[in-house]
């Protein structure tokens, strides 16, 4: 291998690693706040990318119907409670869970004058996000909130079950063929004989901006602090008037947003299939586990390492690249188990 190839692989690794880093942050966040190991994180990547691709192809993405379906389900579950709380609560619930999906459906079918296919890219991206991101809190409400106090293992099995259902739905919505979306920027720069595409700068830049934004959110904003408090001590946070339900929904909202945005960022670089998200998400996981599911900076660094390892092993032993990446997790787990002393919690 010469320097040229090494630089190329390094660039590739950093671009993928940036995405894995974003996902690993989301995973750490979800685990810390809700104790859910969020296996379906990857499905949001695929949903985000494929929803955008559908909009650009002038089709109605299936996620639109999922948004409406879950909206109906959440309304059905929450309506009795909201009814007792008063008509304003009920109106809010209906607006969020029924009217909002209908508005989205209207937009997709051209209610704004032009079909989304003819919109500028930025608006298309925003619409795709507006369709996919609310699925996060909706899924939390339906799948996790009823068993929020269950043991981690039960939550994990539910997460795996949800992943399976979402992959199946992904196949139903988007079919077995993959999609690629046009790049955000066609620019390319020559630096010392190495070509850097505008899209990879977009990916790395957007990841960096998001990471900084998350840092500020958690450090400065009241909601961010509430989430951190919930992560540190659930019952303590509840005694301080922080709703763990709200914290759960907010976390899932962030996780869904990070996932969908990641998907939209990489869709111009790699072809995304309905089941691509799973492996992408799991690689974010390997990074998150390197961080012990607690440390954000270590998780991000671990995810970058995974990206680099993947791109270099795809050069040396391309057939075994998945084997290498996922086997990495085992020494990491062992290292984790040796460095962290496990003390059994009292009830």
């Amino acid at each position: 291998m010469d320097l040229q190839i090494a630089l190329l692989l390094g660039q590739d690794g950093i671009v993928n690693g940036a995405i894995y880093a974003l996902l690993s942050l989301a995973l750490v966040l979800v685990f810390a706040v809700t104790r859910v190991i969020f296996i379906p994180q990857g499905e949001f990547v695929a949903y985000g990318a494929l929803t955008l691709a559908s909009l650009q192809a002038g089709q109605a993405p299936g996620t639109l119907w999922l948004l409406l379906g879950l909206g109906v389900a959440v309304t059905a579950i929450d309506a009795p409670h909201a009814w007792r709380q008063g008509s304003r609560q009920l109106a809010g619930l209906v607006a969020r869970q029924l009217v909002y999906p209908l508005v989205m459906i209207g937009l997709v079918f051209g209610a704004a004058g032009a079909a989304p296919k003819d919109w500028p890219l930025l608006l298309q991206v925003l619409l795709a996000l507006a369709v996919v991101v609310p699925l996060g809190p909706q899924l939390y409400r339906v799948a996790f909130q009823p068993i929020a106090e269950a043991p981690v293992l039960i939550l994990l099995i539910v997460a795996v079950a949800l992943h399976l259902a979402l992959v199946g739905l992904g196949l139903l919505f988007f079919g077995a063929e993959g999609s690629r979306t046009p790049a955000f920027s066609e620019a390319a720069f020559e630096v010392g004989g190495l070509t850097i595409t505008g899209q990879s700068l977009w990916v790395v830049g957007a990841s960096a901006v998001l990471i900084v934004a998350l840092y500020i959110f958690f450090g400065r904003s009241l909601y961010g602090k509430a989430l951190r408090a919930t992560a540190i001590n659930r019952s303590g946070a509840r005694l301080m008037g922080i709703s763990t339900t709200l914290a759960g929904k907010l976390t899932f909202l962030l996780a869904a947003a990070i996932g969908a945005l990641s998907g939209i960022l990489i869709a111009p670089i790699t072809t995304i299939y309905y089941d691509t998200g799973f492996l992408v998400g799991l690689k974010g996981f390997v990074g998150a586990i390197i961080g012990g599911l607690v440390s954000y900076p270590v998780a991000a660094a671990g995810a970058l390492l995974v990206g680099l390892l993947e791109s270099f092993s795809s050069f040396y032993a391309s057939a075994f690249k998945e084997v290498i990446v996922f086997t990495l997790i085992i020494p990491v787990l062992v290292w984790r188990s040796l460095t962290s002393r496990h003390v059994e919690e009292e009830e």
Partner: protein, 600 residues
């Protein structure tokens, strides 16, 4: 509820139907039953691992793959080295597959089992994916196309080519595995596995090597999966990586959970439900949606979520409530058992336990600050002090749950600080817990028998064949004796979780006594007891003292303590503030200040 539905006849009818099945069922149903049998074998391993042991694996399909590929490769490869010639047949393939699987499981288990709860399933996801990609990318295993032309099995010269004949083999193997698993669970080794769910600290205090117990069920579950893979390869006579991927591994776990992960027969129910449902949905959904694909996963995912929300124990308990519980065959013979040998009792006054300058520091907090105390044979020492004084921390130092930061602990003249609690327990120290740690679903008798764990020796293989019935009878008889002694004689067959809290504390004492200790550590045994029960407990402790046992007692009930204890040690803020005879410490000004606040 008395009914005709006794377990024996039901099992009999089931077996008769199973044997007669192929005579009148169409080919298609036989195939379905074959697959149910194969899947149930894997799910059975998960029952042991997940339902009983509390460990979760999403990677069982990879072990199935190891079993299938081992035999597929050995029976079809044309250029095997000469020394492997002996293995180039299905039986060689079985042996090789089992050995490879056991080694891989052992390695993965050693690496990942000591991780706390959720890391293990994550690890299984990772190696589940790794092995799947490995099968698909190794050239000698045929890559993604796989291996075809695997020979069919021959038993005593009879070739099992027909699915109807193979059916008998699959179900025979499955029923044997069920029998072995049931035997295992109903034994000393099985109790130590079931104890894993009660927490590592409790199991280790009873002398159970929990690391080993976890490894054993992990390897057993992998071997069941491997056996299923071997059967699959010779039934299908073709293998490729697809059925060994992570999604199938997840499906196996679903089978166990939906059937009822804590019950052996739940594996069969779960495998049947999922297999039949899958068959039906695979026909129905593509028509419904007008597209091809594995849409059944949507239904499985939703079904699983509903089951975990509404009926976490799965279908089996719901089916089983129509059938009365079957008592162990040994229950009627407890009285004829020969008593277990007892430990030599140290003579009265022998120094049993000595704690010297023990310090325990948690960060900046000194939980125990140069604590000293000693307990002799035939003596009851009470350790009292306000909440947060460091009494439970001291218990943990003595019993080996947590090593002291500095200082010494001597038990029977030997330094034990730093030893693990299992080793210390073996030397003759037994304890109860402040927060009761019983296995709620197990009977009182079984819970107490767990205490006698260290007095038996037979391991897993013997237990699976039930060749240890003599020893098991003696262990259960000892447990029954201890139950009688503490006044639980009428509750032997009750689930421990169904007793009131006070009685559960007494069960803990019986469990500790079943270990035949010379030193007994009791953490608030009288909490939650009624007056008469307290009196009975005091009588029991006096009797134990008369027999030469040393007792270290933490208790808040002062009347109970002062009537019973020979000496009292008072702690506050990690330090000993007083020691002496009960009536002395009662008038000690430092003690009065600690309990009632200063006198101005």
């Amino acid at each position: 509820m008395r009914s005709l539905l006794a377990p024996g006849p039901i099992l009999g009818v089931f077996l008769v139907l199973l044997v007669l099945g192929p005579q009148f069922l169409p080919e298609f149903h036989i195939t379905l039953l074959n697959y149910i049998g194969l899947y149930a074998l894997v799910a059975l391993g998960l029952v042991l691992l997940t339902g009983v042991g509390g460990l979760t694996s999403f990677g069982q399909a990879a072990f199935v793959g190891l079993g299938a590929y081992a035999t597929a490769w050995l029976t079809t490869a044309t250029n095997l080295p000469a020394w492997m010639g002996l293995l180039a047949n299905p039986w060689g393939g079985l042996v090789a597959g089992m050995v490879v699987t056991a080694l891989v499981a052992l390695l993965l288990g050693l690496l990942t089992l000591r991780l706390s709860g959720h890391y293990l399933p994550l690890g299984t996801i990772a190696w589940g994916i790794s092995l799947y990609f490995l099968f698909g990318n190794l050239e000698f295993l045929g890559g993604h196309t796989g291996i075809s032309g695997i020979p069919s099995l021959s038993l005593a010269g009879f070739e099992l080519r027909d699915g109807r004949h193979y059916y008998y083999l699959i179900w025979l193997v499955l029923l044997m595995a069920v029998w072995l698993t049931r035997n295992l669970l109903d034994s000393r080794a099985g109790r130590s596995i079931r104890a894993l769910k009660g927490g590592v600290v409790m199991a280790e205090a009873m002398g159970v090597d929990t690391g080993r117990a976890k490894l054993v069920i992990f390897v057993l579950a992998a071997l069941f999966a491997c056996l299923s893979g071997w059967l699959y390869a010779h039934l299908q006579r073709f293998v490729n990586p697809t059925p060994f991927g992570l999604h199938i591994g997840i499906e196996y776990l679903f089978m166990a959970v939906i059937g009822g992960a804590a019950h052996v027969w739940g594996a069969l129910v779960g495998a049947a439900v999922i297999t039949i449902l899958k068959q039906w949905l695979q026909d129905l959904l593509p028509q419904l949606f007008g597209a091809t694909g594995n849409f059944e996963v949507i239904a499985f995912g939703l079904l699983m979520i509903v089951v975990l929300h509404r009926a976490r124990d799965g279908l089996w308990p719901w089916l089983a409530r129509w059938v009365p519980e079957q008592k162990s065959a040994l229950a009627g013979r407890l009285r004829e058992a020969e008593p277990l040998p007892r430990r030599a009792v140290p003579s009265g006054g022998t120094r049993l336990l000595e704690v010297k300058d023990a310090v325990k520091q948690f960060g900046g907090l000194l939980a125990n600050d140069r604590m000293n105390l000693a307990v002799s044979a035939g003596e009851i020492l009470a350790l009292i002090g306000p909440n947060g004084a460091g009494k439970s921390t001291l218990f943990n130092l003595i019993t080996g749950v947590d090593p002291p930061t500095s200082g010494e602990v001597h038990f029977l003249g030997e330094a034990v600080a730093g030893l693990n609690s299992r080793t210390i327990a073996r030397m003759g120290m037994s304890r109860t817990f402040q927060h009761v740690r019983l296995l709620a679903g197990m009977t009182v008798l079984e819970n107490v028998a767990l205490g006698a764990h260290m007095r038996g020796r037979h391991g897993v293989p013997v237990a699976m064949l039930h060749l240890e019935r003599g020893e098991e009878l003696r262990l259960l008889a000892e447990a029954a004796r201890q139950c009688e002694r503490v006044g639980l004689g009428m509750h032997l067959d009750d689930a421990a979780g169904s007793l009131p809290l006070g009685k559960q504390r007494i069960v803990e004492i019986a469990r500790a006594l079943a270990a035949d200790p010379c030193l007994l550590l009791l953490d608030e045994p009288a909490a939650g007891l009624r007056f008469l029960e307290k009196q009975a407990l005091a009588e029991l402790l006096k009797q134990l003292r008369a027999e030469g046992m040393g007792v270290l007692l933490v208790e808040h009930d002062m009347e109970f303590v002062m009537d019973l204890a020979d000496r009292v040690v008072v702690m506050e803020f990690g330090k000993k503030i007083a020691e002496g005879l009960p009536h002395e410490v009662q008038i000690d000004p430092a003690v009065i200040e600690a309990y009632l606040g200063g006198v101005e």
